[in-house]
Amino acid sequence: MKPNRPVGIVGYGAYVPRFRIKAAEIARVWGAGEGGLPIEEKAVSGLDEDVISMSIEAARNALRRAQIDPQEIGAVWVGSESHPYAVKPSSTLVAEAIEATPLVSAADWQFACKAGTEAMQAAFGYIGSGMVHYALAIGADTAQGRPGDALEYTTGAGAAAFILGPGEESLAVLEESLSYVTDTPDFFRRPYMHYPEHGNRFTGDPAYFHHSVTAGQKLLEQLGRTAKDYTWAVFHQPNVKFPSKAAQMLGFSPEQIAPGLLVGQIGNTYAGASPIGLTATLDVAQPGDRIFMVSFGSGAGSDALSLQVTDAIVERRKRAAPTLAYVKRREEVDYATYARLRGKLQMA
């Protein structure tokens, strides 16, 4: 997919909370061995943090880089599976906080871990058609896993925001994208349920790998390219192993995915995961570099995007804190503190 006129990323920003819990600490509490833990540690949101607050900070970083008038933003779209309200948009509050209101489209998106890239895809269309000049697309989550469940080791917290706009103003131009979707119920949460259900190994081959790799292959075919035509690649990262294997299946090297592979340090940030990988990759990319990105959301589907970095990256990335500044800002907590921060204790 590609709009009639060039579009791209004008500004980007990330946010990761400062608390960390080690996977080994979670394993200790549940009496599991430390062998084969899926990540080293994950980011945990503070008591005063949620998808709205994290989205606001990521959006402000994106605005600092873009240096545009927020009144020119025509759409504010927040993708998440942990919106603080069941009914009431997160996006209206984010739009208000960055002063993009009131002549603005605002909506919350939901597609498990690909809600953020889904919002990006739609924003490219809005801009490409000329309906708006800029759009803000955000992927953010404060994911929850049932205590003791396999998910609990990896469910992290973080956000990434992108101000998308015309190609000529962009620091990375969209070359082509596609979405690959089937109805594959690998992971879901019913209304009023606090924690999701998932299909354990069913989430692997038929879900994550099938959608990520097929979307990636089809986009490479459409562009007549191979992995060697790219400097960097970013994949959805529910753990370290899956994106590493998906990259390998598509011919990408460990070096190509290294800057955008942060799950080992911050956990699976769900709708924020591949978007934060992209912000970290933009932090190190050089003009002319090509970036290949594939998200994945349970349910299931993948968005694949091909981007080329422009000269504007050099000046703009300096204007806000880089992704790694947040990744490296860390305060380790034990399971008891983590349980308090994440509301896992029921007092009544």
Binding site: G33, H198, K241, P254, Q265, K318, P322
Partner: protein, 162 residues
Amino acid sequence: MPMELARNWRLRRQRLSLEGAQCAACGHLVFPTRPVCPKCRSRQLQPYRFSGRGEVYSFSTVYEPPAGFEGYAPYTVAQVRLAEGPLVTAQLTDVDADSVYIGMKVEMVTRKLFEDGENGLLVYGYKFRPPVMAPTNGHVSADVLAHTEPQHEAQAPVLVAN
């Protein structure tokens, strides 16, 4: 309840954007806004958005918080001297109480201030925290590539994608 909703809504620009006012007559800056300039008594006050940068002027740690804030204790409340001049009273966040000092540089962030019970409104507003970091010079640092080594490979448990 409806009264509180309306009140919280009216305060949104002040809370979310740190919007105060500037006196059109004498240039004096105030936060929060008010009807009359405290310096020259003019009523010509215009909305003014503060940068959010400042430093700690005084602080104290709250161990026995008022109703609605119990879950957050202990927390530190500070008077922050904004770079533009006015003093703002606000909670500090992302900082341990024992590492706060007078003169500490802080920046404004928007956080959840409180929840109006289990069914009620979530109220967001300004807090202050130590600045995350100065922007980079744009160069790739060597440890970017070094810190993403693959983790333990042995006896993998069930890995769940989602």
